[in-house]
């Protein structure tokens, strides 16, 4: 079967924040760039980010990138690479200012500067007290940002392939990445996007969990493609549960609610965070707050008839402030919780939200894998940025507002690195290896011809239930062990899914089946990595690694201060060391994490 090949200098997969930021870099440098996206760019999940983007602009009080760096390292429970964290925190101001110049409608201070609000885990003077660092456009920061970047791309005449789904990486014998195969969803046609530089910005895979704040499209496509192409996935055991998803619906309520003065209360009306984080209280970092809420519920102090949620209260705030700073939250509360938060508190529970791990990269956005010469050998022609990548700046737990910053800084640096590579690349494209393209075709053929297979709907439900039960907010050694066996069983079903709809035209059943093949790679990587990590760190907290004098918070730095690397081939794990040396400043020394 002959297959169309289209040549570009660079191909970017994903048109969320990271993909659009990288695309600006490439298009404005004049390179022929294709952006492949499953959904129209402004439908990407960056649009749902609410609270803000971190930058130490210091617009309302003194701030410094070094303090931001300290908070991020501490938030990561020291698993973050300190060189990448320094890079990100230093670049934050420049990237946010650029966005403002693109036209992003930030809220303003009385002096006309970008408005900033406090956010969980962001403190001044190395952890002293909360600081206003989150640059916000009401509670629609992600929406404002994504639209501003899409608009900038229109100006730069970026070429978008909208409603195309990338299927697999094209990688040659030398390990170099030469583009992707992708399917036009409208016609079912499969095309090879042959490129000198390939940037993955495919976002997260929150859909592995039963209850998630994530969009339907967050199916870890980039991670699945990378894993199938032999690239390991880093730190996949670390998943952030957002403390305040709307109970039942899972829809996100930004931490900005607490930044503006919101308070969490249990069934006795107690502000329970004072017990768990005497200093930062409701603005402690997300893993801490999520565990506190789960503990309150487990100990019988949850609210409602089933005592299965707590309350997020802002009814003491001035209604004008709510309407000005949190209008989207009020809409969400009315739509999905049936309460008007001006008068009543919102029922919330911790909900799966963000994947700290991903495709391993350095701070230039280049994908790195262990090789003969070093633990971090560059994969030529391959870049990743945003939630699908692991730079690693979030380590074991991400701070709120650092995700939007991550996609700006690393979207840009991945774009810059690709531009540098293209400047030095020969004019002609490297030849495509013939066998590589068959991998994607084989997956589609298998789906078309599968008989007596498993239902996609049932299989994905089973996967999500398994992840929820066996790898939740608190993790238990025996449940993790069972979870590994269970998720491998689900994986067998994923390999034999069947669809009844065989149409070539906009076949969403086929897309969902292909997405499930990506999700399951992420689910297996998560379960296997989590089972293996025998300590508690950040968002990964095990019952058999409790808080002791020897192991504060259950953290075991002697044995586990290292990144996990999961390989699909053989379902095996490897480890690499954490970079504790920053670029210019001194190492932020290990210590017990408390807020």
């Amino acid at each position: 079967m002959s297959i169309t090949v289209r040549k570009f200098d660079a191909v970017i997969v994903g048109a969320g924040g990271a993909g659009l930021r990288a695309a600006i870099q490439l298009s404005e440098s004049g390179y022929k760039t294709a952006v492949i996206t499953k959904v129209f760019p402004t439908r990407s999940h960056t649009v749902a980010a609410q609270g803000g983007v971190a930058a130490s602009l210091g617009n309302s009080e003194e701030d410094h990138w070094h303090w931001h760096m300290y908070d991020t390292v501490k938030g990561s429970d020291w698993l973050g690479d300190q060189d990448a964290i320094e890079f990100m925190c230093k670049k934050a101001n420049e990237c946010v200012i650029e966005l403002e110049h693109y036209g992003m409608p930030f809220d303003r201070t009385d002096a006309g500067k970008i408005y900033q609000r406090p956010f969980g885990g962001h403190m001044s003077n190395f952890g002293e007290k909360p600081v206003a660092r989150s640059c916000a456009a009401a509670d629609r920061t992600g929406h404002a940002m994504l639209h501003a970047m899409y608009q900038r791309n229109i100006k730069a005449s970026t070429q978008f392939f909208v409603e195309w789904m990338a299927l697999d990486l094209v990688r040659d014998d030398e390990g170099e990445v030469l583009g992707v195969t992708a399917m036009d969803m409208e016609t079912g046609e499969i095309v090879v996007f042959h490129a000198k530089a390939t940037i993955f910005a495919t976002g997260g895979a929150g859909r592995i969990c039963y209850s998630s704040t994530n969009a339907f499209i967050n199916t870890g496509d980039g991670l699945g493609m990378a894993a199938r192409a032999g690239i390991p996935l880093e730190d996949m055991e670390f998943w952030q549960f957002h403390p305040t998803g709307v109970a039942g619906a899972g829809v996100l309520n930004t931490e900005g609610v607490r930044g503006e003065g919101g308070i969490l209360r249990n069934s006795q009306g107690e502000r329970f965070m004072e017990r768990y984080a005497p200093n930062a209280k409701d603005l402690a970092s997300r893993d801490v707050v999520s565990r506190a809420i789960t503990t309150e519920i487990n100990e019988g102090r949850g609210c409602g008839p089933n005592k299965d949620f707590v309350l997020l209260d802002i009814s003491h705030l001035d209604p004008a402030t709510i309407m000005k700073r949190l209008p989207g939250i009020r809409e969400i509360a009315i739509q999905f919780a049936g309460v008007d938060c001006i008068r009543e508190p919102i029922p919330v529970v911790p909900t799966a939200h963000y994947q700290m791990g991903g495709i391993p990269t350095n701070y230039n956005g280049q994908v790195v894998v262990p090789g003969k010469r070093s633990q971090n050998e560059i994969v030529p022609g391959f870049y990743a940025a945003g939630e699908c990548a692991c730079a690693s700046v979030h380590g074991a737990n991400r701070l709120g507002t650092n995700s939007l910053l991550d996609l700006l800084v690393f979207g840009k640096s991945a774009g810059e690195s690709a531009v540098e590579q293209l400047k030095q690349s020969p004019k002609a494209h490297k030849e495509l290896p013939p066998g590589e393209i068959d991998r994607a075709l084989a997956r589609v053929d298998r789906l078309n011809s599968q008989k007596d297979g498993a239902s996609v709907h049932e299989t994905q439900l089973e996967m999500r239930r398994t992840m929820q039960k066996h790898a939740g907010v608190f993790r238990f050694a025996d449940l993790l062990k069972q979870g590994v066996a269970k998720i491998l069983d689900v994986q067998k079903d994923v390999q034999r899914t069947e669809i009844r709809d065989k149409s070539k035209v906009f076949n969403t059943a086929r897309i969902e089946a292909l997405e499930l093949e990506n999700l399951i790679e992420v689910a297996v990587a998560t379960m296997v990595s989590a089972e293996a990590r025998k300590e508690s760190r950040g968002a990964h907290v095990r019952d058999d690694a409790p808080d002791t004098e020897e192991f504060p918070n259950g953290r075991d730095d002697r044995n586990w201060l290292k990144h996990s690397l999961w390989y699909k081939d053989g379902n095996r794990l490897d480890y690499k060391s954490v970079k504790l040396t920053p670029l210019t400043v001194e190492t932020i020394a290990l210590k017990k994490r408390a807020y």
Partner: protein, 238 residues
Amino acid sequence: MTTRTLQFKIYRYDPDKDRKPWMQDISVEVDGTDRKLLDALVKLKAVDDAISFRRSCREGVCGSDALNINGKNGLACLTDLSSFPEGKPIVLRPLPGLPVIRDLIVDMTQFFKQYHSIKPYLINNDPPPERERLQSPEDREELDGLYECILCACCSTSCPSFWWNPDKFVGPAGLLAAYRFIADTRDQATSERLDNLEDPYRLFRCHTIMNCVDVCPKGLNPTLAIGKIKAMMVKRAI
């Protein structure tokens, strides 16, 4: 948990096998955890995996799942199942006025073409300053009710003027975006933007029917924005 059965009439058309569109009668059982129309649609897809529709964020910010629901445009993820009367089938059709690709999925090329035609990006030719361009909170407030548009196309596809001239009338969504940049104190291209709309079709095909205001799932008011553009043109002309 209480369950109830919902009856649907759904517009179906797969050009790969159907000679013409048809209406499918189908029902699905929903329980208390299914609050929104999108929840029911996802369950329907488990029954018949060929039913095709777009969806993404399921919380009304991405704008994917705009449909014609019982004759009125809206987002499936923001439409309460409890708002439907008992005993009557829920009629779902694709957004009117745009070509159908398949089932509930329409070809939005024309809609986005109009959006792109108003140059939806900030134009400021001064060299960018080191820091942010300053804007007072009052000036920033001018953008409220404008920048929140999610490009779902509920408004433009409910507008008769857009139905008749989708190739020439910008439509409420595009005009709202045009005013968003006109109203931005940081933008310097106001005159060009007004010139770009000075035409019997592009702006002035709005006859203030206000269907756009009626259906906007974000509660925005394109008609008001259009009125402000017209007022600016008059002011400029005299």
